[in-house]
Structure formats: C-alpha cells, structure tokens
C-alpha cells in the first residue's frame, strides 16, 4: 500500500503576491518497507515534498494518494493517515511541550481509542527503541533533557503510533558521530522489521550506506530516481549536480582516476579498504 504522488505541483505565495514554484510535475511512488533517501540542494523542494506526502500541504495540481485514496479529498479520514505516516521535522526537539516525557511521547495517541495500559505499553516500547530506560525517563520534564536526548524523545513520539511510513527531514543534521550512527542503526532496524523510511539528507555517506533507493531533486524537479547502487555509481553525473556519492565511493572513484583500477562500488570504508587491499595483494603477486 504505497504513498503515490501523481504529477504533483506546488507553489508558495511570496510577500508581493507572486507565486514561487516549489515543485513541478512530480510523480513518485513509495512502497511498503522501502528505505528511500532524498537528496538535493537547499531550496530544491525536498521539505515541501515530504510535507505533501504527510498531508500538511495541499498540492496546487496533481494528487497525493495513500492506500489508493486521495488524501486531499474532503471526506478523507486524516486521522488514519496521521497514524500510518509519521513525519519528523528538522530539529524535532523544539516541538516538545508536555510536563513529562511519558505524556509528550503519548501525545500522538491522544485521539486513538486505546486503553491507558495499551498506550503506556506503546510509550515504553518507543522510548526503549530510542535507547531510554523507560522507568528512569518517564517522569522527567522533556525540557530538562540535553539536546540529543530531546531529539530522541521527539522521535519516540513519532514512533508511538507504530507508523508504516516514517519520514525524516534532515534527521542527522547537527548530531555527533556516535549519535548519528546509533540513530541510523535504529532506523535500519525498524526498516528491517517492515517500516518504510523516507529520509531527506545532505549526508551522502548515510544515504549511500543505509538507503536502497535514492531520489534526487534540483530546482523543484525530479532529476534521478533509482537504486542507490546505480545512481551513486554515476559519479560524474552527481558532480554535475554538485552532489557526491559518499566518501568511500568518491575515494574509489578518485583512485581509479589516478590509475589504480579498483571498483568504485564500495559503499562503506570496510568495503573500500578490502578493495584496496586485494588490489595491492594482486600487485604484490604479479611482482613476485
């Protein structure tokens, strides 16, 4: 049951009344269980796109379908969409407001018809996924936590509805290396359990390592949509768009350019090191 965008266009009204075209004729289909990265420069329409997917904006033309139904029709039940699709904005730590972490995380279930025990169980589940000890954190004020903790609490608040689709806007911006890796591992785990993940990011390394599919935008238009392996192996095209394919692939590509013929398919440092090592061993073998 996918999220489908059918030739969607969107324009913002500027201060003097003229329209600024943010997205032009975009058609995308994101299926259950996918792990999609969205790349592009600032202002290319990435954030607008995910807000359209979550039903926070209404397209100027075209339609957004979820489970085959147009989410912008008047009789569409938005509550169902909100449960199935969670959107985590950039810097979600600024949306916390409740008196305790437990209440804040449970906010998304406020209008659901679940019993108190069920809700409590869900809150425990989502906080534990985000690496918290539920009993230690539940009564704390979310505003007293550190920046990184706040972000994890906010993400727990998005997980609490057990969404089938998780959409992140720049989730790893401003995180240190350790939190970044921990976060990406959690998301990867959720994806393996069946949650579809859409991640807007400037971080080509993260997309290259975790996503299966990548969509690239430029000036409100869809430039490329394909498997990460294929899109990221065309490094020249990415360079034309002033993007890169992640550090390991780029190093592999540069080494090849300097006469060291190694595969530029390496997505991680381990793979790259392995490729270099086997190349050097080959060289050694031929010398002997």
């Amino acid at each position: 049951m996918p999220i489908e965008l059918e030739s969607v266009s969107f324009a913002y009204k500027s201060a003097d009344g003229s329209e600024i075209q943010a997205l032009r004729d975009i058609s995308i289909k994101i299926g259950d269980g996918e792990f999609v990265g969205i790349m592009g420069h600032t202002g290319c329409g990435k954030t607008t796109l995910i807000q359209l997917m979550a039903g926070l904006l209404t397209p100027v033309s075209g339609s957004v379908l979820f489970d085959g139904l147009d989410i912008n029709m008047r009789d569409y039940d938005r509550a169902k969409l909100r449960e199935a699709v969670s959107l985590v904005f950039q810097f979600p730590e600024y949306q916390l407001f409740e008196s305790t972490v437990e209440r804040d995380v449970a906010f998304g279930l406020k209008h659901s018809r679940q019993s108190r025990d069920e809700i409590s169980e869900r809150v425990r589940w989502s906080l534990e996924i985000m690496g918290f000890d539920f009993d230690l954190i539940r009564k704390k004020s979310p505003l007293s936590l550190s920046g990184g903790e706040k972000r994890r609490v906010a993400i727990a608040g998005a997980l609490v509805t057990k969404p089938r689709y998780l959409i992140f806007d720049e989730p790893i911006a401003g995180l240190d290396q350790m939190s970044r890796n921990a976060f990406l591992e959690i998301i990867d785990e959720l994806n393996r359990e069946g949650t579809a993940v859409v991640m807007v990011s400037h971080n080509a390394d993260a997309i290259s390592e975790y996503c299966k599919r990548v969509i690239i935008f430029s000036d409100g238009e869809l430039v490329t949509d394909g498997a990460v392996k294929e899109v990221f192996s065309d490094i020249n095209k990415l360079e034309e768009l002033y993007l890169n394919a992640g550090t390991p692939r780029t190093i592999g590509h540069m080494l090849s350019g300097h006469g060291m013929e190694i595969s530029d398919k390496a997505t991680s440092y381990d793979e790259l090191l392995f490729a270099i090592k086997s190349k050097l061993q080959n060289v050694e073998r031929t010398l002997h």
């Binding site: 807000q51 979550a54 926070l56 509550a79 909100r82 449960e83 969670s86 959107l87 904005f89 979600p92 600024y94 949306q95 916390l96 407001f97 906010f107 998304g108 279930l109 406020k110 209008h111 505003l143 608040g157 998005a158 509805t161």
Partner: protein, 259 residues
Amino acid sequence: MLIGKFVPINSIIHRLDARMKIVSLIFLLVAVISTSTVYGYAAIIMVLTVIIWLSKLSLFAVLSPIRRLWLFFIVIFFMNAFFFSSDNPLFSWWIISFSGEGIRQGIKVVFNVCVVMILGNVLTLSTSPIDMTNALSSLLTPLKLLRVPVEDVAMIINIAIQFVPTILEESNMIRKAQTARGAHFESRKLREKALSFLPLLIPIFISSFRRADELSLAMEARGYRNAKRRTKKAGVPFRVLDVTAVAACFVICIIQIYI
C-alpha cells in the same frame, strides 16, 4: 489590525523624515480638533486629499480602518445625537434629548475620529517600522531628563518588530509538526480549543526565550552595552522637503486655531 502595515512604495510622503511626519501629524491633529467652521472642515478635507494623493497609497488601504469600524462610528454618532444636552431640543424623553446641536456634535465627533484614523493610518502605511522606532526614540529624547531609558525602549520595540516574521514562520512550522503528530487545532468546543493551542504556545514561548537569550549574548559579544550612550552610524539631516512639510502643517494648525 487597525493600523496599516508598511507599504514600501516611492512617494513624497514615504520619503519624508519619520520624525517630521510624527510632528506634522501632531500639528494636524490639533488643527482637526480645533476646527469648528464649515470652511475649516472643507480645508481639512482638502489637506487630507492632498496628503493621500501625494502618498500614492490606494484609497482602499487608507480608508480600510474606517470601513472596519463603521458600527463604532454609528454608535458614537447616536450617543452624541441623543445625549447632547441642549436648551432647545426637538424632542426630549427621560434622559434622551434629540436636538440639532446634538446631530452637529455627532457629525463633528465622527468626522474628527475618522480624520485622526486616516492620518494615523497614512503614517504607518508610509513609514517602515525601523524608521518609526528610530523617530520615536529621537523624539522622546527629552524624557531622558526624567531618567526614562529612551534608547533601550526604542531598541526593545525595534527588536520586537523585527522578530514578528521569524516567530510567525516558526509558529507555522510548529503547528505543522504538531499536526503531523495528530494535534487538532480546529475543535468546536471552547475549552478543547484553548487546550489545543498549548502544543503550539509552549514551544513558541520556550523558543522565544531561547532566542532572546542568544540574541542578548550575541549583542554583548559585539559590544552592545546598554549603559553607554550609543551613536548613530550617520545622522539624518533634515531636508528642505521635511521642513516645508512641518511648516505647512504648523501654519494649517495656527490658522485653524485662530479662525
């Protein structure tokens, strides 16, 4: 909004020095209040027409506060018309007395309020908020003798105005974020409606304080000290146009008072 939002166009009124505009406004207000003859009113209307014409603002924008307050004008007209105590009323019953003077008084009050609102509106439509705060701080300088921290007050107003767009944008963002989490902002019941704004208000409140904190540190880091007398980058001299405008308004004021 009762007063208009600044419309950045190029006109003589827009180019006038903001300090002079405020002073001219005060003279004109005195002129309006002290007018009592029909000729006086005709003169005021002529002056008003010329000002609006010079400002190149649309009549729609200039008159919009009056359009929105029509009920208020009707009420103050009848209040004056019915409760003006006169020696020869057309008819009187209980505390109500209806007289020619009352009607005239009603028209006069409504006319005065209308003119005051139009003039004030032209001022805010033709002056940028920054110019306005600078002008206010400059005009309030004498209050320094009374130890009123005029510059600080002007700085506070200035910052408040500058952050309005930022806070609006941020509240829009937080509203979307909370909607994505399942918040409802469109409940019918008043209590629920009030409570539903908490997820919006608290984050905005917190971030406003955070921003204020950061801003004050940034200002101090760049050498801002509220105790020191601050100088302007360049003093703005009065030009012939500014002086002429104030002189004209002053003359109108004097004539209205003595005729």
